[in-house]
Amino acid sequence: NDFCIRNYILQWGMEDTRALRYEECYVELREWILKLLEDLKNELAELLYPLFVHCYLDLMSKQYTAEARDLLAHCRHEHEPEHAEEITCLGNILDGSTLDTNPIAIKYMQTAKAKVYLCHESDKLLTEFLHNRRLNILVRLINQYIDIIIYGSTVHDIAPQMRLKQCEEADSAMIGVKRKPLRWAEVAEESIVRRESRRARAAMQESRSNTGDAMQESRSNTGDAMEQDEQEDPSKSEAQGVEELPQLSDEMEARILSDLKKRVNVSKGALPSICCYTLFNCRDALTCMNISHDASIVAAGMSDSRIKVWRAGTTTERDVQDKSAADALRNGSPLMQDSVLVGHSGPIYSTSISPDNRYILSCSEDKSVRLWQASSGQNLVTYRGHNFPVWDVAWSPLGHYFATASHDRTARIWSTDHIYPLRILAGHLSSVDHVVFHPNCNYVATGSVDKTCRLWDITHGECVRLFKGHRSPISCLAISPCGKLLASGSDSGELLVWDMASSKCIFELPGHEGGVLSAEFSCGEGSLLASGGQDCTVRLWDMTQANQSKGKGASLRATLTSLQGMKVLHTRSTSMMTVRFSRTNLLLVGGS
């Protein structure tokens, strides 16, 4: 292997020792890597962190303390989401003499070489690049401290076992790492229930009669239990994140409550009913589809930049949900087409219907996001800010705020009354494909082409968790109603469930052939996960195990388990673009 890096050490033995070159070299390499093609970039990016650490340690050991501190200050933000603990520890090094006592320094310089897996192609490119740019410092560091393992000639040669091994290694390196705790604020639904139960209890005490109906009683019981919980766990109530949460209208609250009363508990034993919406005659023109939480609105984005909106039944009927869907089914009549939203000038890539069904957001290839009034079909606001096509848009669970994901490698948080973004979430190495709000409104999760998912804190706009382990770009995301599990599907049909607190993959759900286009947890306890894919199936997965294990932190250390699908439902030839649980736990699916 003539091109092997190791041979260059002789040739380029003489080294440029000017201290400044360290940072320059590192930044040059980083810039180069970020411009590479996706697959190669993801591989080579693994090299950056160990190199960064070694540059820093090398500078320290050579007594260039100021330069080392500069390097750390300038570049630490890139690695913080993944290696926060280590970086803080590195920051504690005062000068070269204390290197021997720092655990991280010992780990990197003495214990073992860091392992990086590369394919032959990327190895060759790297060698050529280092050679052409004369980045001798990096060549020396790579030779000395990093073990490059070549697994095949191209990226696609990687065997799945190898991938698993890499993940395990990464995991074992992470053991003992403490992270910032996440704030488990109350989910909107819970707060409504709690307020209602208080009201009910007050009413009951007033009348001093115990003849209230069973429903209220049970509700107040749950309310009691919840308050006991709060007393036991004081951290829970104090952890409110976003201060100015939008208030839901009374009408909206009443609707949620009435839905809650009708909610059916679904689980392994009691499977949900599924209503399937199929679009006909659209010949690949359908790019995205969305169904509102009460099944009253269906919005379909087309590649010809129109959005078609269908409405079910009459809007005055409040319990539209079951009735209208059932009626439409009984008559076999198509849903009423309500309006066509015209305004975008490129394919629509995502739509989102606000929780109160009054507004629709859409994003498109034309770089803009538009807000539409659902009842009239008018375009109210156009949000411009992204410089590249916008892939995804998502309302916050309470409305008012929304998040977008774009090809410009950022996700952004917006509020409907500002035409500029409030937060820009930058950190993904490639285009950000999907975005979803955490039910407690403190976080958003994003998925990207760089095969990772990230969790972002909205208040500070920083990345707090990184989920690594997918083998292909992320194609859908879902967060459980309790807010502790994240499900992510990928283009190659993988479906993984992550524990959010430890950012570990806890379940692997094999079965889909072809991309997983959408996934969602059931409402309430979140005991089911539904996913729809390009293989024209809807699959249901039992999540009770995951829900049980999330309580005990220790069991999460257990290895990744793979769950078999509980139920597979085929359609004739409808590839499932959207999967949605209504608040009463009716599963709504749609596609073309």
């Binding site: 209503c275 439409a328 087409q337 394919p347 085929h570 590839s575």
Partner: protein, 390 residues
């Protein structure tokens, strides 16, 4: 490693008017060009993923180019897929060529506007009720899925037709009933214009599977009933041919019902009111259709050809049968191919020819018939000879 070769770069440079591109320059340019190409393809795939499609389209490539601030390529967004053909070049490399049809400008201008596309519609159905899939037409049939899962994935077309089979027992939809009425009336009393429209519909329309048993029954009954009505028999034969040539129809289960009708049209004693009518043509056409059927179905049904041959040979070797029947039998056997002719007609030809001699002294109708039969016989024997010699 690189896909773009250096000589290609040199050629492209020469075409652009830059001469003397050195090898090193060409090599680095080739690497760069390939990198750009891969980048564009990668972006285009991204656009494809977000459109939730399985196929990459020229529009995706154009979007990817636009993202990179490059002028899109115009003229590649066809409504139908582009057909590529590969040709071996001189240097051993292969070339990929897009076949382009030449269109007459006048024709294009005078052509009627294409049909407006069908409006997109939304329909809802229950995929599952409490986790159980109801058996309604919108949902796939479970057995088919099991078979599909066990074996390899079948083509969509196949599964569609097999899915429709169980629906034969169902009540026919009103549209299908109307269609049946129209087609049958066109065959029996339609003008040539309507008949040809009906036949072309039969040849091409998908979704007629449910009607197939009814059509088969109709053909059998009608052939029996109108044995002496030449135009109807002709129309029925055309109808059989149309059904058989419809690629979407799964005719095999009904073939045994259609065969007797075809055979009757070939060897029937009298197929017209007066013996002067051109019933010979009908027999010839039936023979051709027989040839078509044998070609298509002989492989899966090994006994098919044998049974046909036996019937025809029986008709041919029976001297008491009328000459018209003999004619049909000879035509049919001839249509079955040179091997059959060699084995069955040629050995019997001399004896039969002497039999024919008798008829030449009969009345003029018989004589005329005998001449026809003789012509057919000579034709068959001649064909078989030319074939064996070649």
């Amino acid at each position: 490693m690189s896909i773009i070769r250096e000589d290609l770069v040199q050629e492209a440079a020469a075409a652009a008017g830059v001469k003397n591109v050195g090898e090193k320059v060409a090599a680095s340019l080739a690497a760069d060009a390939e990198y750009r190409l891969r980048e564009i393809i990668q972006d285009a795939l991204n656009f494809k993923r977000h459109s939730r499609r399985r196929k990459l389209t020229p529009a995706d490539i154009n979007n990817a180019l636009r993202v990179r601030n490059v002028e899109p390529l115009y003229g590649f967004t066809f409504p139908e897929p582009i057909v590529y053909t590969t040709k071996q070049g001189e240097g051993g490399g292969s070339q990929i060529i897009i076949e382009e049809k030449e269109l007459e400008f006048d024709e294009l201008l005078s052509a009627p506007l294409p049909k407006a596309p069908v409006e997109v519609t939304l329909r809802a159905h229950w995929l599952a009720i409490d986790g159980v899939q109801p058996l309604i037409p919108e949902n796939p049939i479970p057995e088919n899925l099991d078979v599909a899962a066990a074996g390899k994935k079948r083509k969509v077309k196949d599964s569609e037709t097999s899915e429709k089979d169980p629906m034969v027992q169902d009540v026919l939809s009103q549209e299908l009933q109307l269609y049946y009425e129209n087609v049958t009336s066109a065959v029996i009393q339609g003008s040539p214009h309507i008949l040809s429209a009906a036949l072309s519909s039969l040849r091409k329309d998908p979704g007629l599977q449910a009607l197939l048993p009814y059509f088969a029954q109709f053909i059998t009954d009608e052939v029996k009933r109108s044995l002496k009505d030449l135009p109807i028999l002709n129309a029925l034969l055309s109808m059989t041919l149309a059904i058989l040539s419809n690629a979407q129809l799964h005719v095999e289960p009904r073939l045994h019902e259609l065969m007797p009708a075809v055979m009757t049209c070939m060897v029937g004693k009298q197929l017209c009111k007066s013996s002067l009518d051109p019933h010979w043509n009908l027999r010839d056409r039936a023979a051709k259709l027989l040839n078509f059927i044998v070609d298509r179905y002989a492989a899966p049904y090994s006994t098919l050809q044998q049974r046909i041959t036996n019937t025809l040979l029986h008709a041919f070797l029976e001297p008491t049968k009328p000459l018209t029947t003999h004619y049909g039998a000879i035509a049919g056997l001839a249509a079955l191919g040179p091997q059959t002719m060699n084995q069955l007609i040629v050995p019997n030809a001399p004896a039969y020819a002497s039999l024919l001699q008798k008829y030449t002294f009969d009345n003029h109708i018989k004589r005329f018939e005998a001449i026809r039969v003789r012509g057919a016989l000579l034709d068959a024997v001649g064909k078989s000879f030319t074939h064996t010699r070649v």
